[in-house]
């Protein structure tokens, strides 16, 4: 159930303890944001889901213990926790196992509806791009080749590469319509 609370009120309610509706709202609100952060930094869906669980547990514990001094900064606190957790995950995967064992599947993140793309339409749209734009788009997103690799291949600076990629991406999205 979605409840209308700003972040500050939400933090206060959770801090007062035993407010399951407020805790559920925290999970609903923050889980998709944490998951995106996890996907960006961990490049793995399972690892991103694990991050969601760990950050939510940690946030909940902090709120219950009154460790969030400025309740207006709930989002910043969660983001900061994400950053620390990702660093921690990279350093020590054992902590992840321990936390997951402790809390189990109770905090399994709700599946996100991922946008679906028509691959045939996408192929046509990619083929319509100019040669350099197509190369930039495909080489950038295929195995995420480094900017330096792609720029060297094209014989352009990294700044120019960025301009070409932006132009190509906008053309692709226009060609694909709202779906992309």
């Amino acid at each position: 159930m979605e409840i209308e609370l700003n972040d500050s009120d939400l933090a206060h309610r959770i801090g007062r303890g035993n407010d399951r509706a407020a805790e559920a709202e925290l999970f609903r609100r923050m889980a998709p944001r944490i998951r995106l952060f996890g996907l960006r930094h961990l490049r793995n869906q399972d690892a991103a889901d694990d991050l969601v669980q760990q950050v939510l547990i940690s946030t909940l514990e902090a709120l219950r213990a009154g460790r969030l001094r400025d309740s207006h900064k709930l989002s910043s606190f969660v983001l900061g926790t994400c950053r620390m957790m990702v660093l921690d995950l990279r350093r020590n995967s054992q902590r992840k196992e321990r936390l997951l064992e402790q809390y189990g599947a109770d905090l399994a993140p709700a599946p996100c509806a991922e946008p679906q793309l028509d691959s045939e339409q996408l192929a046509q749209c990619v083929q319509k791009l100019k040669e350099r734009e197509r190369s930039v788009i495909v080489l950038s997103f295929y195995d995420e080749q480094t900017r330096a690799d792609v720029a060297r291949f094209l014989g352009v600076s990294e700044a120019n590469l960025r301009v070409i990629r932006h132009r190509a991406l906008h053309q692709l999205r226009d060609c694909m319509g709202a779906a992309a």
Partner: protein, 193 residues
């Protein structure tokens, strides 16, 4: 709630690719942690990136590629079939069901060229497709292109001629090289289109 300062999809793509300066990346993340509308747009960008990745793996695009692309595809277990006919010469070629990418390597003296087109012609030399202003390195001495494996697997036995053409500022064309691929069909299918 509508976002008053929506993040551009291209910036979100840069973020996804790790191509933003650190300070800009941090401000994008702060925005994403307060704005689900831009989060949804990032999800669209991620989906697009994934679909392009899959498209590249399918090998169905006709395009110029880099050696790094071929190397990474091979490292990821894709079977790459390559042909390199000599300049002015020909090569016998085919594809099998196990092939994932079909690559042609065209050697040419590219020094001094400002713009190069790749013209794909039928056996009579009539142009079917032109890849205009392809990426190339003047010192590389070759252009590497990917033919659509989907097309090649379906194609009957036929001859394809590839031409590298340099264009000058006035639009004049200068042939850098011509390369003939004699494709023999080895997979089941029609004998002709």
């Amino acid at each position: 709630m509508t976002c008053g300062t929506p993040l551009d999809a291209a910036i979100l793509a840069d973020y996804w690719l790790g191509a933003l300066p650190e300070s800009e990346e941090q401000s994008v993340e702060e925005h994403l942690f307060a704005c689900d509308e831009c989060g949804a747009r990032l999800r669209e960008v991620i989906a697009l990136a994934g679909a392009i990745h899959n498209l590249a793996r399918e090998g169905s695009l006709l395009m110029v590629v880099s050696d790094a692309f071929i190397q990474r595809a091979a490292e990821q277990g894709l079977h790459v079939r390559q042909y390199a006919p000599p300049r002015g010469g020909s090569v016998e070629c085919t594809v099998t069901a196990g092939d994932d990418l079909l690559i042609g390597r065209l050697t040419a003296d590219l020094s001094g060229a400002k713009r190069v087109d790749l013209s794909v012609c039928n056996q009579r030399g009539r142009e079917q497709v032109r890849l205009a202003d392809i990426p190339f390195h003047s010192a590389a001495g070759s252009v590497v292109f990917q033919q659509s494996i989907t097309y090649a697997k379906a194609a009957p036995s036929e001859t394809m001629i590839a031409r590298l053409v340099a264009l000058d500022d006035a639009g004049g064309e200068h042939l850098l090289g011509e390369y003939t691929f004699h494709h023999t069909r080895t997979m089941p299918g029609p004998g002709a289109w």
